[in-house]
Structure formats: C-alpha cells, structure tokens
C-alpha cells in the first residue's frame, strides 16, 4: 500500500549528499528549538497529546475525496497541525509523521529525511501558523479564509523548496522542475486548503474551546506572524520569478558560489565533497587518510566486541545475586510471587 500520493517525499538518491546534510543541519536546529519550547509549554500532557495527534495526521492523510477524472485530493496536514497545536508542537508532530513514513513505509528516504522534514513539516507549519496568528482575534470568516490561503501556500512552499533542492543536486533542470512541481502542487494545495478549512470549521463549531483564547495555538508568539508572512512573501515572489526566469536564479546561485561545474554531471555541490578523489597528489593522500580511519574504526569495533563479551559474562553473574526487592508501595494484601528472572 502506498499512502502518500504526493510527489513531495523525496527518496534517497535524488539529492546530493551536501544538500542532504545542509537540510539536516537546518532541520536539526529548528527541531532543537521546537523540543525545548514544547517541553516548557505543554507540560506533562504533551506526550499523549502529541503522540495521538501525529497518529491523527497520519490517518487523516488517507481521507480523500474525488476531484475529477479519477484524481482525488487529500490532506497533508502541516498547516492544520500547527493551527490546532501551536507551531512548535505542530512541527514535532509532522516530524514524527514523516519519520514513520520513511522508516516504516520507505515513503521518502533516510538520508534525505532532513530535507523532507524541512519541506513538508517545518515550512508548512511555519506558514500555516504564521498567517493564522496574523489574524488572531478577527472574525471566524477571516480566520478561515486566511487558513485556506495559508494551507495552499504551505504546499506551494514545500514544492518550491523541493524543486530547489533537486536542482541544486543536479537531479533536475530548473526551468522544468519549478513549473512542473508548482503546477502540480497548485492543484494539490487546493485540496489541502479546502480540507483544512472544512476541518477547522468543524472544530470551531463543535469544540471552540480547543481553539479559544487559552489554547496552545493562541499562545504562540506574535513573531510567528512575521515569519509566516515573510516565507509566504518569498514563495509568492520567487515562484513566478523562478518559473519565468530560471537563468536569473542560475546566475544568483553561481554568484553565491553554489554552482561550480554544472557540466561535470555529478551535481553542483558534489564538487565540494569528493573533488580530491578525481586526480592529483592531494587526493591520494586524502584517500589514504580515509582508508586509515576506516581501518581504525573497524579495529576499534572488534576491540569493543571483545570487551563486550567479557562484560556480558560479568553482568549475568551480577544479576544472579539477589537483587533488592524493596518497594515503598507493596501495601497489597496479596502479592504475586516475585521470581528472579535472568535477562
């Protein structure tokens, strides 16, 4: 079964290693913030709430509706998650969803997971929440329409980022991948917008308290409005620019030093990573060093293996000694017999 009919989950192999790592770095930094913020904000209830909410997003992505001609629309959920849970929690929830899709269903690669989380989880949540936060306190109609626009833009932003990453990895040609990705996702985003708005209006109607003044989503900082607005603006400005004048973007990238040798065929950034293997004395030395490192690692691992063997023997004998059975809680009138079990 294939559960994400959206061409946003990049599999391994389609991004160069440099881009993959760059995306991981950005993602990890943002997630680091998210982890510390949610730890503070949600308290002890966060674990079950966010856990079940991520399962909800995963499951809700399967709710589809026929559009026309055999195609169907459905939810991605980044904007919805951040609007109902707040931005940081929304990001963590989306991260868990994308991680499970990659780990369990190979929907999206492992090395490129950083990019996938960035595109589908972080940016979507930022735009979705940012624009929603921007109209806090307005009427329901305003809120809902802004959420609709935000949901559409969040999908477009994810698509744009994906296209750029593919292009920087020399996997696709800019003048084709941008219009193709944006074109397809303009439609997908429409489905996202419609479903998100309907779901939110359902929640507003039946449990308005969940989105009220004391809810998590109302507590996000006002700055989100600027962040979301800025990303939205970039998407709005960059998309048409990139699709009509890809040469311009090429030139910018070249000026910024992104593109060295687009001709070489192994990717603009690949040039930074493995140039020394190609030729020259430096490369020989580097290769020799790497070889040494690898051999060293292997020897260390075997050494640890031997050490572990002796430890396990110790550990087993340690467990066999009678262990503490003290418990401050054994007030029960009957007690199941406590047997010591070897691990």
């Amino acid at each position: 079964m294939h559960f994400s009919p959206i061409p946003l989950h990049i599999p391994d192999g389609f991004l160069s290693i440099a881009i993959s790592i760059l995306c991981w770095v950005i993602t990890i930094v943002i997630l680091g913030f998210a982890v510390s913020k949610t730890n503070k904000a949600l308290g002890e209830k966060q674990v079950p709430l966010m856990g079940v909410m991520s399962a909800f997003i995963f499951a809700a992505q399967m709710i589809n509706f026929p559009i026309a001609g055999g195609t169907s629309g459905h939810l991605l959920g980044g904007a919805l998650a951040s609007v109902v849970l707040g931005p940081w929690a929304g990001m963590l929830v989306m991260t868990a969803v994308i991680a499970v899709q990659a780990l369990l269903f190979q929907d999206g690669g492992l090395l490129v997971m950083g990019a996938n989380i960035l595109n589908m989880g972080l940016v979507t949540a930022a735009i979705g929440y940012g624009l929603y936060r921007g109209v806090a306190g307005r009427s329901k109609v305003v809120k809902l329409s802004v959420v609709g626009v935000a949901a559409w833009l969040s999908v477009m932003a994810g698509a744009l980022l994906t296209a750029l990453q593919l292009w920087l990895s020399s996997t696709s040609q800019l003048e084709i991948v941008i219009p193709a990705m944006l074109g397809v996702h303009a439609v997908i985003g429409l489905g996202e917008a419609l479903v998100t708005v309907a779901a939110l209006s359902f929640i507003l109607q039946t449990r308005p308290d969940l989105l009220g003044e004391d809810s998590e989503s109302a507590k996000g900082s006002r700055n989100w409005a600027y962040v979301g607005g800025a990303i939205a603006l970039i998407v709005i400005l960059l998309s048409p620019l990139a699709s009509t004048d890809p040469d311009g973007l090429n030139r910018v990238a070249m000026d910024l030093g992104f593109i060295q040798t687009a001709q070489s065929g192994s990717g603009p950034l690949a040039g930074y990573v493995v140039p020394f293997f190609k030729s020259g004395p430096v490369s020989k030395i580097a290769a020799g060093l790497i070889g040494l490192l690898v051999v060293g690692a292997i020897v260390t691992l075997i050494g640890r293996g031997m050490k572990a063997k002796s430890q396990i023997v110790n550990h087993k004998s340690g467990l066999a000694t009678p262990s503490a059975t003290a418990s401050g809680y054994s007030t029960a009138n009957q007690k199941p017999q406590i047997k010591n079990r070897k691990s």
Binding site: P48, G51, L319, S323, A324, T325, S327, G328, Y329, S330, T331, A332, N333, Q334, K335, P336, Q337, I338, K339, N340, R341, S343
Partner: protein
Amino acid sequence: MPVTHIKNNFEMPECDGDVLTVKDLHFSYPDGHAALHGVSFNLCSGDKVALVGPNGAGKSTLMLHLNGILNGHGDIEISGKPLTRNNLSVIRAMVGLVFQNPDDQLFSPTVFEDVAFGPLHMGLPEADVRARVDAALEAVRMSSYRDRLSHHLSVGEKKRIAIATVLSMNPSLLILDEPSAGLDPRARRTLINLLRELPITMLVSTHDMVLVKELFPRVIVMDEGRVVADGSTREILENEELLTAHGLEKP
C-alpha cells in the same frame, strides 16, 4: 426525566478493615455540569461490588475520583489513608484503575512495555519490574504474550492485558469500568472466570446484568450522581420497581 429516589433500605454489609471509604463526594465538571451529588459508600477487603446505573449516572466520574484523577469535594480514604495531593502517588499504586477501552490503556507498542509502565514509574529496580510483569501476566494467563505487539491482540486479549497493567502495581483495590463491553460471549466468559479468580477487592461498573448476577454478591446502584441503592445483589435484582426507575433490567 424524573427519577424516583427510592430510599435505600437494604442491609449494609458490615466490615471493619475498610479498603475504601467515600464520604459525601460532590463534583462538577468545569463546564458546570454537576456529575456527583454527595456519594458515600464503603468497600471492605475482599468485597466484589458491581456499580450499575444508566448512561450518565456518574459511574465513570466516580471512578476517576478514586485515584485522584478528578478532584471533588468530600472525603476519600484508601486503606485508611486519606486521598490528598501529597500522597497521590502512593494512592495510585494502591488503586488500580482499568478503563473501558483497552486501546486507551495499552499505549505502548509492546505488551511488556505496557505492563512494566506502572512498576517503572513507581521507581522500582529493574529486576523487580521484570518479576512483577511476569507475575501480572501469569495472573491473567497471558505469559506467552510478553513480547507481542499490542495492536495484534484481539479485544478480549487486550482486555486481559489491560488488567495486567494494573495488577503489576500490586493494587489493593481494582476498579474496572465496563469490562465486558464489546466482548463476544466466549471472551466474556473468560473474563468472568478471570475476575472470579482474582483475590482482590474490586469495584466494577457495568451495564451487563448477567455479569452482575453471576459474579457480584453486592451491588451499588447510581443515578443522576447519587447512590440510590446499595445492598445484596439478590435483593436488588428482585426489586423491579427500583430497577425500572433507574433504567435497569432484570437479567
């Protein structure tokens, strides 16, 4: 709808070493809905008591009070210890609460992790935790399920594991909310036998009057947030007037 509050004229069971005392418990939900209006009763060591009443009577609400998840006005004592904010964690180890839906109770991926959750959070050492898990699974006859994934179990199996998750905490009082709901006759029979064998004081809410008749010598009837009858099952099940007044049926 009007409810006749028949005066409770059944003999109360006598007991000295009380496991549970609830005195004049009142509670309203944050939305203002008053769910409990002065509930009082006792449980004695070894008692197996059924709690019956129509939907919305307040049974689940009452149960959530018995280990301090909800906090109403009134006094609750477990084995002589008053339930206060300070000894909450001790009380929670003494009162094992099994919720209606085993899917809510089994939140870990594997059976072992779920049954170990309680002992681990009591701060027991690893060896004790493992021993308790084994004993609890043994008690519900599910030892071979130790390493299974929870989502692979049938409803009846999940139910039994859910009971094991609180048995592993060695509770002195077991509280079950509608344990037989959704089980087919065969699984229900297994559950009844299991509950009969467990040598623990228990309070069980249910709509299943056959279960009540077979398993419980004593019944507490609730309606609209009050205890409207408390006495021997035989007598209460004979009292048709009482039963129909509170939306119950003779088994």
